[in-house]
Amino acid sequence: MSRTSPILRLRVVAMANPPTDINEVLSQRIKEAEDVCVADSASKECAVAWDEVEELSAEIAHKRVKEGAKKDPLEEFCKDAPEADECRVYED
């Protein structure tokens, strides 16, 4: 059997990745914050942990709003081509 070209094999090295799903990360951070704050709820570490939770929660909420704001395809089209026939507006 002849090989016309060397076959390159890519070896994907599995790395220990942090969970990429932001919701997963949020759940993790909430648990961590609760643990940190058990010792001293007024400590800096506690504030920092909950601050991170707040940041993630805000970002998740923003993404949810962005997804929800998926608009009507006609509106999207008319934004770029307001002079098109389909986009005519009548004011009687």
């Binding site: 920092v48 909950w50 601050d51 929660s57």
Partner: protein, 413 residues
Amino acid sequence: MANIKLTFPSSPSSSTSMQTLLPLRAGFYGAPLLSSSPSSGHLLVPGHSSGKRYKLFVCTASSTEQPVIIGLAADSGCGKSTFMRRLTSVFGGAATPPKGGNPDSNTLISDTTTVICLDDYHSLDRNGRKRENVTALDPRANNFDLMCEQVKAIKEGRPIEKPIYNHVTGLLDPPETILPPKIFVIEGLHPMFDARVRELLDFSIYLDISDEVKFAWKIQRDMAERGHSLESIKASIAARKPDFDAYIDPQKQHADVVIQVLPTRLIPDDNEGKILRVRMIMKEGIPNFKPVYLFDEGSTISWIPCGRKLTCSYPGIQFSYGPDVYYDNEVSVLEMDGQFDKLDELIYVESHLSNLSTKFYGEITQQMLKHADFPGSNNGTGFFQTVVGLKIRDVYEALRAEEAATPLKSAKA
């Protein structure tokens, strides 16, 4: 679009007067802000012996058109907030993230307005903050020198390379280029914290949400998320409160307008936070800013519009207006408690308020209807946010008018 050339007989030292000028863009209200007709004005150049007259063609070299800088302090994250969407809508056009750039960019750009998120000036990313044990609210996590330098650059008409703070990864991403827009809004936790940045702001707003309302809103926002519970939301607010009170809250005294959101007084024990009492605290004596008033400026008024001419559903609407002192500043406070349920109520209220800065009857109602799906569209938050948008428009137009007057002055000098 007209190509306008401005010529002077003997060139003054300034080189801009001899430049071929940029094409005159139609103002965003659909009509040119400055007249482009040759007969728009005549310029007498003193010192010229024959006293010749020169026709002044419109002159707007972009370096003299200073962007208007607005600061907005809010705890709810950046750029995608309802306030910003209403604001950009007043000026026309939808604000979208920069096309073709980092998908996690926090910046919003419309035809006239660019909104940047001050989180982009974090000096410490999420790991850094954990390491140094500081929250994002702490000034130590933010690079105020860079913030000042870049806001100044925009104000002077120069583009900037602004870092991007990625809220998803918690890292600082490579910078994006921001060009000076007509209106530049800096939104975030610390727009008025640094005195040098405060000097650069033409107008500033602080969104002050009371603890009870904040709690109710965060419950609405987060309860659906796996992992969150009533306790975790409560704990999160409580843990951040010391830093918030120390670093963020004091900015209130520097704001030109504070929009304070409180629970309603119309329903006893309403803890759902659905009906809101919203107060617009407006500083007196700010250039180009005329506070809104009800019936008689400077007096104290209490007004319930619902009655014979207007029927409202429970719990109705209550307004009050009056002068006050806020952190040693003279202010006027306009307050709205309750909800709009019908179009009639909105237009009725709008027609009885004064100094709203509307350009036509019903402009606020129209703006509110345009975004009827936005949160706050039926109460004082949406109403006052829209009013603030119009006030910013006033500031913008006043500054443009001032600039249009100065080239004439400098040419005469």
